[in-house]
C-alpha cells in the first residue's frame, strides 16, 4: 500500500530521463522551460495547497532570482555561486516580506503580496541604469557546472530535469516531515494548532521563505535558459499565470502544480502558433477545468485511472489517498 508514491516517483524519473529520445530540438527547449516553470509553480503550490497562503506576488521571487543571476553575472561568472545567490536573495526577500505579510490572511494576504510584487516590478522598471528598465537585459553569465560551458539543449534539459527532480523530492520529504505536517495542520485549523502550542506564524514564515527560495532558484535557472530577462518576470500577470497553473493542475497536491505548468506552457505554445487569440482558448479551458475538474488535472487523471484499473479495490484506494497526499481531492477546491 505504501509503495504507491515510490513507483510513482520511479515513473516520474524514467519519464524525465527518456523524454529527450522522443523530443525534437525545439521540444527539448520547451521541455526545459516546462521543468523550470514546474519548479516555480510547485513552490507556489506549496504555500497555496499546504499552508493556505494564496499569493498573487510569487513572481517577485522568481524575478528576484532571475535578476540576481543576471546582474551579479555581469561581474562574476560562476554558476554555483550565482544560483546560490539567487536562492539566498529571494529567500531573504521572502523572509522579510513574510515577516510583515504573514499577519494577514485570505484576501488581504493576496492583496499585500500583489502590492509587493508590483513594487519590485516598478523598481526593475524604473532603475534603467542597473536593470535596463523596460527593455530588459541580456544574460551574460554562461551556464557552467565545472565541465565547460553547457550550451547544448540536450545537456541543459538534463540539468533542468535534475533540478526539477531534486526540488520535487525535497518537497515530497518536506510535506511528510513534522514541519510540513504542522503547516498542513495550520491550514486545516489554525486556532486548534495555537491551542496545541504551535506558534503558527513562525511555521507559516518558514514555509513562505522556503517557497520563495525555490521560486528564486527557478528564476535563476530561467535567466540561463532564456538568456534575456525583462521586468515582466516580476509582473503580477506572471504571478497570476502561475496561480492559474496551480489551480488547473490541482491545489493541495505536489505534482499537480507541476502538471499544470506543463499543460499551460505546452498548450500556450501550440495554440499561439495557430492563433493570436490564444488567451481566449486558454481562458475557456481554464473555466472548463475549474467547473468540471474540481481538483484540477491531477484529479481528473486519478479519476480515470481509478475507473480503468482500480475498480475492484476502490475501498483500499480511499485509504491510500490520505497517506500519499498525491490526490487529496478534498483540498482541491479550496482556492
Amino acid at each position: 500500500m505504501k509503495n504507491r508514491p515510490l513507483w510513482l516517483n520511479l515513473v516520474l524519473l524514467v519519464v524525465l530521463a527518456v523524454m529527450p529520445l522522443l523530443l525534437s530540438s525545439y521540444g527539448l527547449k520547451l521541455g526545459s522551460e516546462v521543468l523550470i516553470m514546474a519548479i516555480f509553480v510547485m513552490s507556489l503550490g506549496l504555500i497555496i495547497g499546504f499552508a493556505g497562503l494564496v499569493s498573487l506576488g510569487h513572481a517577485a521571487f522568481f524575478g528576484a532570482g532571475a535578476y540576481t543571476v543576471t546582474l551579479i553575472g555581469d561581474h562574476l561568472n560562476n554558476t554555483y555561486v550565482l544560483l546560490l545567490a539567487a536562492i539566498l536573495v529571494s529567500g531573504i526577500l521572502a523572509f522579510i516580506s513574510g515577516l510583515l505579510f504573514i499577519r494577514s490572511s485570505g484576501a488581504y494576504f493576496l492583496m499585500i503580496t500583489l502590492a509587493f510584487g508590483q513594487m519590485l516590478y516598478a523598481i526593475a522598471y524604473k532603475m534603467e541604469d542597473i536593470t535596463g528598465g523596460v527593455d530588459g537585459k541580456p544574460v551574460l553569465a554562461t551556464f557552467d557546472l565545472g565541465f565547460g560551458a553547457i550550451d547544448s539543449r540536450l545537456t541543459f534539459y538534463y540539468v533542468t530535469a535534475v533540478a526539477f527532480a531534486a526540488s520535487y523530492f525535497l518537497l515530497r520529504v518536506f510535506i511528510s516531515s513534522p514541519l510540513g505536517k504542522s503547516v498542513r495542520g495550520i491550514k486545516e485549523n489554525e486556532s486548534r494548532m495555537t491551542a496545541l502550542g504551535y506558534n503558527t506564524r513562525n511555521y507559516k514564515l518558514v514555509v513562505y521563505t522556503l517557497s520563495g527560495m525555490m521560486a528564486g532558484f527557478a528564476g535563476g535557472l530561467y535567466s540561463y535558459f532564456n538568456e534575456y530577462i525583462s521586468p515582466d518576470l516580476l509582473n503580477w500577470m506572471f504571478s497570476g499565470q502561475a496561480l492559474i497553473m496551480v489551480i488547473v493542475g490541482g491545489v493541495g497536491t505536489l505534482l499537480g502544480p507541476a502538471i499544470g505548468a506543463g499543460f499551460f506552457v505546452i498548450l500556450q505554445n501550440y495554440i499561439s502558433s495557430y492563433t493570436e487569440r490564444w488567451p481566449i482558448i486558454m481562458g475557456l479551458i481554464f473555466v472548463a477545468i475549474v467547473l468540471y475538474g474540481r481538483g484540477g488535472i491531477i484529479h481528473i487523471v486519478s479519476l480515470i485511472w481509478n475507473l480503468l484499473f482500480r475498480r475492484k479495490n476502490r475501498d483500499q484506494n480511499m485509504q491510500h489517498k490520505e497517506g500519499t497526499g498525491i490526490d487529496s481531492s478534498k483540498s482541491g477546491t479550496s482556492v
Binding site: L179, N189, S191, R192, A195, G197
Partner: protein
Amino acid sequence: MTLLKVEHLSKSFKALNVLKDVSLEVREGERHVVIGPNGAGKTTLFNCITGTLPINQGTVTVNNTQISGLPAYTAVGVGMSRTFQKNNLFGSLTVEENLHLAINACKPYRFNFFKPINKFTDVLEETEHLLKEWNLWDRRDRVVNELSYGEQRLLEVLLALASKPKILLLDEPTSGMSPAETIQTTKLIQSMPRSITLLVIEHDMEVVFSIADRITVLHHGEVFLSGAPEEIKGDERVKEIYFGGGTLKHA
C-alpha cells in the same frame, strides 16, 4: 500547592463587562468545576486564562509563571492545555494524524523538515498508547469527519492530553453526548491520574458532582460562590440563580 491562580481578572467586549474581578485558585491535583447559567462567562474565562482572548485587567499564573498577556501558544509550554466547547479538530485528517500533530507540538524536532513524521518512533508510541487507552485505536485510520460525534468529543480531549499537561481545561467535555457516552466519558475523566489537575466547565449536574472536589459558581461574570460540592449543593442562593428555585438532583 496552587497550580493555577487567577487574580482580579476582568474582561469586557466594548461596553459589555463579561468578567468582573474574577479570582480563582486551583490546587495541584484538584478537580475544580466551574458552573453557572448560560452567559455567565465560563467559556470567556477559559479563553482569558489560556490567552486566546486578551484580558483587560488582572493576572493569570500557572505554576508560578505569569502567562497573562502572552500569546495563546505559550500556555502549553507552562503545562496548560485546553479543549473546546465545540469540537475543534482537524476534520479531513485521520485520527492518527490528528494525534501526531498534537504530540509533535512539544517535541524539540518540531521544525524538522527532512525526515517523515512517521519515522519518529516516540510519536508513534505515544499515539498508540493514547489511542488504546481511550478506545480509539481501531479508529486510527479513519478521517475525523467520519467519526461519530461522541468519538470526536473524545478525540477533542485526547488532543489536549497529548502534550502531557499539568493542568487540563475541559470546556463542557460531555456536551451533546448521549447518556451512555456521558457515563463513559465521566469514567475516563475520573480515571485520569491526579498528576493532571482539572479545571472543568460542565452543565450536567450528575457529571459535576461525580468529579468535583471543588466548585466555583459564576454568575453575571462574577464569582458568586466557591466551595466544596456539599456547600454548593446545600446553598439556597445557588439553587435560586442556577436552577430557578428547583432542587438539585443527587449524583
